[in-house]
Symmetry: D3
Subunit: 290 residues, 6 copies
């Protein structure tokens, strides 16, 4: 039997988008409804679906070689694993999720110090305790099985909860008083896996392609023709980091430019390119950028 | 403001069926999508939606007067609350759910004793530890965030998991080697609530009507006419415990029988009643039986 | 061809519940997806689906004999038709819907008088103009094609809008300052229809059965056995208006009581009946009450 | 192991309604998604899901004792089985489905005779051939795998197709020129089953309860109080076949009537009963009528 | 606070496709379920969701700077606003929607003149009145709240209704006798907005990108390699208006052609290109064409 | 009226994907819900929806010129038609579906020979009989109306059934003992169609574009820049069959490579290309490849 890399993928709400990301990167993963061992079209991979909360535990104990999870749950678990790569699902630069300390809108609590003697509900008990200790506050941390944001003020005095947009907190009339932890999707592996040259290279290649697929979601291709006399003007408008491909045309007075830019700048860039002399501007979609 | 009984109802998978049961008992409860304080058409009640796992905690700390949850989570919590009434959703007699100890089908483990040194995954960590202690076994109990039945043999050697029909266990090629705990829906209350005469009576009346509604789900009404000469034969067939209503008809040779029987015996009972002389047998649905 | 009563039923959001009500009353109506002439299992009826807003117009012009609509749209239309019967969908007594005058929460407008010179958006233009005239206020009434409650403060200074619970108004930060009109479902007919004896009787019978079906939704049947010595106590608890059926049992010391009560009093009534000596209390559902 | 009756139920479009009917009759059947052996809460029954078209084949070959299917497919199969009972899903008297001979609306074909030399598409090849032979017509019968009603005029000259309301035929611009076969749901059994006294009685009881449940779908209960002086008038209005239960009331001048009537006559009956002196008329639903 | 352009987008059936179009043009718009102020990832834009029928009213009164709506509703409103750009959702050339005058199929009405004294139902009352006046016909125009096409012949003698394919008219057995108005999506603005240089340029850029996205939906990219000796033949086949990009290859005997063509001509063009000598023809999707 | 090619497309489970494929090839087909004659945006085509099983029958009888179906059903029908082109929906090379002979897992039957006297259930009766004859086995072949895989062992001793992944067979505890037939989607036509030059060319062009669209589903475009000194290394990695387009850049030391590769090799190819010196690797999607 061929050698295999055992990788854990997060079961639950992230499962569909993770499969989608692997699809774009080049792997087709299929899960039967009740099975936790999805099939994949790569004989060198073995995949298990594991809760994000438990991923570090099974990577540390070497049941798995590596896995995708959040940095929050790695910290909470206290397990010894190595963060190999961050996979940040970003639209406009870096966007992480935050675990915040929140209290009722009308509460007198304004700082972590004021939590002394209070009840704090959270799913992230260990990280919260460490945070309180660092702030030298003595408070009661209770594990919350869910619906944490509905607990104050009756069931808890404060909460430590995950937030992306803050809208769920606002809907429950809570205000944020501190950020306890920032978190993002990460690839973790154990030492044994990283010491195995074959596994290390396999994992590196997977990460390269996952990143290429992630990058392509925020970028587009842009092609245009420019008369040589105005080429310099047009090139000045294009982002410095991405070197455009400039090719000769049959008509020697003109060149074709082909480049990759952030999708979100296109709406501002195109009017400027036209003013600078670009003709036949065409935007097209990308699958991967390495 | 009027006096109120504060009652917790289980949030999540049991929520819809609990609301349905209260509806049948006479209370209409409505929950806004993101709110945890549903409205109810009874000014003497205040309802909170709480996870079954946390119900005992908040009843014990007197945030709530009482609540509906499972006896399993009461035990797991270790909280001091009083079981006031069992609400058994039964079809044919008593049907409880079971937390069972299960191992892979081909495993050599046949008894709890054989678990020594093994990893056991479960959501019910405290009850499992107590069970192991009672069996004098030393094993590692790991909290499982879900999908527990998929863990053996790679992620755990054995599990303690809830089962109703055993089909999920079989689908994962696990076999049951012991029952750790039987559980059913229960109404719990704290001492202070039970010491308050008004709250006690309010709670008793609610329980009476919940039980009446539950009972009606498994029973039906049965009406028939019988000539008096064969009345004794027919009555012998009817269950002894439920006394039928026998009323005189205009035709003095006949009587009408109206009674309540378990729905599941009707298919066997009706052929016998016909043979015994019952005419015009009619089965009709019930809402409540007190 | 047989004689027919031509009746209009409201197309749109009320259509499903109207068909449901007729079903309970005894008529099965079926609409093809794109047809406005539903079929009905009664050769004496011809049904058309008409917008509630236009019902009065077509009853007045004798295209229809009669129709179901709201009293609000009858008034708005200004058409001359006769209100034959109110069909109030009530749970606990009379519950009508209201068209209210609403302004932004922080607005200085506190009374209709303060609307002078303002823009008022509404679907009920004529009724609103009449209301302003009665209040001797000069303001601009603009027809609103929908989403009226979102218009203040930018697109309108005040609105006249339909409300049942007020939650949509609150969500848009509006407060009610007056009720412009109360409305309920009504059966309207034109003079010619009411002057035709056959049509008049047909319509009366339909209304009787619709009301019987409506009533049954809020009532339940209640049966119990009582020893004669305590009969008076039990009867005192039952609502005076509904005369219970009391029948003799074979055991001459007991009687059976069968009665109809409002569903919403059952949860309070049953504990009292038990205390008063009732045995074998059974609640059962009803289809119609005439 | 206990004795069992092996019964086939129709797989496919009729499955859900058949399970529903058995539920009302007193048996709870549950099918796993991919299994063809549903479970049932009766140890004396073994159920298999079989296509209606193949039911007779497997009853004849004694793989099954008995089964539910249509009389059309029994005939088409040519198998030797016994029709034990008809289960007619009727609303207003007998309603069977029909296999009809249909041709394009504008076709010159007006009688079966005119089919000479034509192509006829149908799923019911054998029955159609027999029909043509009986009509002494020579034509080509082609098995149709579905969408038969779309075939004329290009793919067939005529079709023999199942119809309930005729709407699919009209939508395809076809007209019916003859009825080839009437069909209804039937219970079939083989000789061996009927010769086994235990199986015969078990099957008879099942049929009795299925029929009782079917009957109850078209009937309702009706209760009312009548002063004795007008009793005769009221009784004249009630259907002769169903003998009402008349019971004495405490008030000796009145009696209570309780009876079962066809649901579809209620809307006409109730106005007449009221005119005849009935008071407190109440309609209630039924589960079974034997 | 930064300067903002206030733009109205059509609420309702066009909302999703409008958001989609802005997405392709480069703006991500998100609407909360009950809010009418969607968020957009551009601090220079403020968006309101407004009914198409009311858009002109609020642009004229300067609540909005500009908006997207149909030319039909601009005319109907009678408001004074400027049409800045047509956004024609075209597949094969210009495709507008039409408001047509339609009568029952069998009607004797063949021309607008014949409408004298008739009842005409329409949502577009003012445009219809103007049309009748232009045709010198005296008829009654009634506002229709919907389901207009079902009104003839009972509820109206003729209708003026929107149609794209005519299928809904045919299904209601109506025939078109005249076109009252052609309409298309348009961008409107008020004078004040167009006089503000910053707003004018912002709006122009938005329109440029919306048009670029619309265009890309009907076009595709086409690449191929051609030996220089056959280049002229291949170029003759390509549409004259779109100048292809021709670039030199390493093999000096060949060139690469990259061009943009209408998607609908590709199926005819490709066989011809192959015959003319093109190799490695590849079609690829586009996002935007400016 | 213009000349038309009459083509049959498979009705049922393949319909959606066939329409999708034609869409990609350049034809937009739209089917009304109850019609079997979909519309298409090409006046030279007339489309009929026909069951795959019946396609050959109607192509042979010249009702249709040509059609898409499976080679299995062509064989089963015994009709004389010409296979014009195979349309293999492949991911990694050729992937056909198989009709296999399967028996219960524990069965003693190991070879076709052992089927003597057994009952074999299948939808492919004629092909199965031919197969048995070729194997010189005498067995009973029964037409199966569906759910064939559930029949053994009670309803059949063996089956001949279609399988793609074998998972449905495994779920029913069956094992494959032989392959009876391999099948794929095919374009069939009759002689008369192929003898008509216009129809022949029209059909050839359709096939060319269908194949181009199919091919594009498994391929992607890949662009990169390479310094000329390492060009040879990079080119060695690219598949030999697809000649990459190499174009000069403004910077004369570099060239741009644009090529088409199988999507499934990309994940292995990209790391190698990077090692070989490729920069700015971009993968983009394709619509068609001819």
């Amino acid at each position: 039997m061929s050698k295999k890399l055992k990788i854990g993928l997060p079961k639950g709400s992230l499962q569909a988008s993770t499969f989608e990301l692997f699809k774009k990167a080049g792997w087709s993963i299929k899960a039967q409804e009740r099975s936790y061992y999805p099939s994949v079209d790569d004989p060198e991979l073995e995949i298990m679906l594991i809760r994000a909360q438990e991923m570090a535990r099974y990577v540390e104990s070497e049941v798995l070689d590596c896995g995708l999870t959040g940095t929050d749950w790695v910290l909470e678990s206290g397990c010894k694993v190595k963060n190999v790569a961050d996979l940040i699902y970003a639209k406009r630069g870096l966007k992480k999720v935050r675990w915040v300390l929140a209290v009722p809108e009308g509460s007198k609590i304004k700082t972590p110090k004021a939590l002394k003697g209070m009840r704090i509900a959270t799913e992230l008990v260990n990280v919260t305790k460490k945070y309180l200790k660092a702030n030298k506050v003595n408070a009661k941390v209770e594990f919350s099985w869910g619906a944490t944001e509905a607990k104050p003020p009756e069931l808890a005095d404060a909460i430590v909860e995950l937030t992306e947009t803050g809208s769920s907190l606002r809907a429950n009339h809570l205000k944020i008083i501190d950020t306890v932890l920032e978190s993002n999707t990460t690839v973790i592996a154990n030492k044994k896996c990283l010491a195995d040259a074959w596994k290390k290279e396999k994992l590196d290649n997977i990460i390269m392609l996952l990143k290429g697929a992630l990058l392509a979601e925020t970028k587009v291709g842009l092609k245009m023709d420019v008369i040589k006399s105005r080429l310099r003007n047009v090139l000045k408008l294009l982002p410095a980091l991405e070197k455009p491909t400039i090719s000769e045309l049959s008509n020697p007075a003109w060149v074709a430019i082909d480049t990759v830019v952030d999708e979100y700048i296109v709406r501002d860039l195109i009017p400027k390119l036209r003013n600078a002399g670009a003709k036949g501007i065409v935007e097209y979609p990308l699958n991967k950028i390495i």
